[in-house]
């Protein structure tokens, strides 16, 4: 199904595992400031409610979540289960009503620097008034990096997302997939402790999405970055993550966790993944919570 893999991303989905990224291997490039024996993120008893039309709506309740260095964890749940709220809280954009968020460092000061956890959004969040280069350099300039250092870093990460030749392009000249790759570079260039991805590929077409999966796995292999990935697409979660955390809605709570043992690249034909998918989907059906969950019907055959 993928015919256009002319680059080094020869991880055609459909082949069975050729390479497994274990935690040891993923560690090798993590920024030296990370303490690899300590969780990258600990979410402790976090709750948040909103006032909507005069009523209090409990968005998430008593969320406990631990993410270890090098993991790629997917948070799966129907729309409105509070996934994005949780992600915004983790990113430091919102404050929880109760509970706390701890980072990798013991030092309290570092913990409060939420920019250690960078977000990639579903919709286009690139600044249209800046070029690709200036978008990626944005966070570096705020951190007062020198021009030369900026240039080196931006070039490195644009090369990683294979957009080196679009450095001076304007944002409106890029396709949807390219925009998400720039967004990826813009976050990675700051070498965050944790990359938070809020349904980043939902707006893309199937082919582009497959390319993005491969790119994301390749980047993870090269940088050892830890990722928390939100999706309502069960297959996406199965193809990408080490661990899948299933959420239920009203109020948003963690229902069950699944560990995905298969190596990469993965294909949905893999019997273990198929079995896992059935189990995950069953969780939603039991709760009557199917909503917009994709890959929802247990009888559905994909590919």
């Amino acid at each position: 199904m993928t015919t256009s893999s002319s680059n080094e991303l020869e991880l055609t989905i459909g082949n069975l595992p050729s390479k497994v990224i274990g935690h040891e291997e993923a560690f090798k490039n993590i920024a030296t400031r990370t303490n690899r024996f300590r969780p990258i993120l600990s979410v402790k008893k976090v709750s948040k409610s909103f006032g909507v039309a005069g009523k209090r709506i409990q968005a998430i309740k008593d969320i406990d979540l631990v993410i270890n260095p090098g993991e790629l964890v997917s948070l799966v749940g129907p729309s409105g289960c509070g996934k994005s709220t949780l992600l915004n809280i983790i990113a430091g954009l919102e404050k929880p009503d109760f509970g706390e968020i701890l980072g990798n460092q013991i030092n309290e000061k570092v913990q409060s620097v939420f920019t250690e956890r960078l977000l990639i959004f579903q919709e286009a969040s690139l600044f249209p008034w800046l070029t690709v280069y200036d978008n990626v350099a944005y966070g570096l300039k705020i951190r007062k990096f020198t021009k030369e250092k900026c240039r080196l870093m931006v070039e490195k990460y644009l090369a990683l997302v294979q957009l080196s030749q679009f450095m001076e392009a304007c944002i409106h000249q890029l396709s949807g997939g390219m925009k998400q790759r720039v967004a990826l570079a813009r976050a990675l260039v700051l070498e965050p402790e944790l990359l938070l991805m809020d349904e980043p590929f939902t707006a893309l077409d199937v082919q582009t999405r497959q390319d993005m999966y491969r790119l994301l796995l390749k980047i993870r292999e090269e940088t050892g970055i830890t990722i928390l990935f939100i999706t309502h697409n069960v297959e996406e979660a199965l193809l990408l993550s080490n661990r899948i955390v299933v959420m239920r809605s009203r109020p948003g709570q963690i229902k069950r966790e699944f560990t995905v043992g298969a190596g990469y690249p993965r294909a949905m034909e893999h019997s273990g993944l198929k079995q896992l998918r059935l189990e995950i989907v069953k969780e939603f059906i039991e709760a009557g919570d199917v909503g917009d969950i994709q890959g929802g019907s247990p009888h559905e055959q994909v590919y």
């Binding site: 915004n88 990113a91 430091g92 954009l93 939420f114 920019t115 960078l118 977000l119 959004f121 919709e123 286009a124 969040s125 600044f127 249209p128 008034w129 800046l130 944005y138 966070g139 705020i142 951190r143 304007c170 944002i171 409106h172 000249q173 813009r186 700051l190």
Partner: protein
């Protein structure tokens, strides 16, 4: 091929426009030649032209223009500075929106020249009073456009910026300002035309040097040639600012933000 035909069209457009103007002047001369009205009511093109060149040659027009431009530069400059600050503050701070914001909407319905009596009582018959009216003319338009421009910024840009570590002044200058810039430029343009109108209204109403006074002097001397010549100067200044500065600025912003033709 396409380029050539476009070039041809362009030539045609200019030729057509030139012919139109020549025709208008011809018609004008014809009406004057028929002598329906005396020359002090309906001046001739050559009379206006000589008054225009006289005005340039003895520096009265140049001095008048400089005085008027100085006033508008001060008044408009203050309006731009405070209008944008106020607009950002109202756009970002809820309590200001509810209080000051509602006052502004009410004040904007007041034609700016209506501030003149108040201004004269406060400052006396002098330049300060005129500048105050200019400020009141432009300030509200700039404030309101900046405010609405700030409100229309997609929240995702602010979220992304904050997530990458921008806050306070950095957030203002690197995200809020560029994201609201198209609306701000529209406000600056509108503010300019309000300021210009207010200035002329003020200058016409009392002795003050400046172009408005030259216009009034023309009336007092029954010098219709002078009146029309000053009006031409005013049109030239207006076109210069509107077409050469604001239109170009808007086009540049549209181009940069990709809001252009594609």
């Amino acid at each position: 091929m396409l380029e050539i035909s476009r070039g041809g069209l362009l030539m045609n457009k200019f030729t057509r426009r030139l012919l139109f103007y020549l025709g208008m002047i011809g018609l004008w001369s014809l009406v004057v030649a028929v002598k329906i009205w005396p020359e002090y009511i309906f001046p001739s093109p050559w009379g206006v032209l000589s008054s225009f060149t006289d005005g340039i040659r003895d520096y009265t027009f140049i001095n008048g223009t400089l005085i008027s431009l100085k006033r508008i530069a001060i008044g408009y400059g203050i309006s731009v500075l405070f209008g944008m600050l106020l607009g950002f503050a109202i756009g970002r701070i809820g309590i200001l929106e509810e209080t000051v914001g509602s006052v502004l909407v009410g004040l904007q319905t007041l034609p700016s020249v209506c501030w003149l009596p108040l201004s004269i009582l406060w400052f006396g018959l002098n330049e300060k009073a005129i500048i105050f009216v200019v400020i009141m003319g432009a300030l509200l338009a700039i404030t309101i456009s900046t405010d609405s421009g700030v409100k229309q910024i997609p929240p995702i840009y602010i979220k992304a910026g904050r997530n990458m570590g921008a806050k306070g002044m950095t957030l203002l200058t690197t995200i809020l300002l560029p994201a609201a810039l198209p609306a701000i430029i529209a406000g600056l343009k509108q503010g300019w035309s309000f300021a210009w109108r207010s200035l002329m209204a003020g200058e016409l109403l009392y002795v003050s040097l400046g172009l408005g006074q030259l216009l009034m002097m023309g009336r007092e001397l029954n010098d219709m040639n002078r009146v029309i010549a000053v009006m031409l100067v005013l049109i030239l200044i207006g076109v210069t600012f509107d077409r050469l500065i604001f239109t170009k600025l808007e086009a540049a912003i549209r181009e940069r933000c990709g809001l252009g033709n594609n």
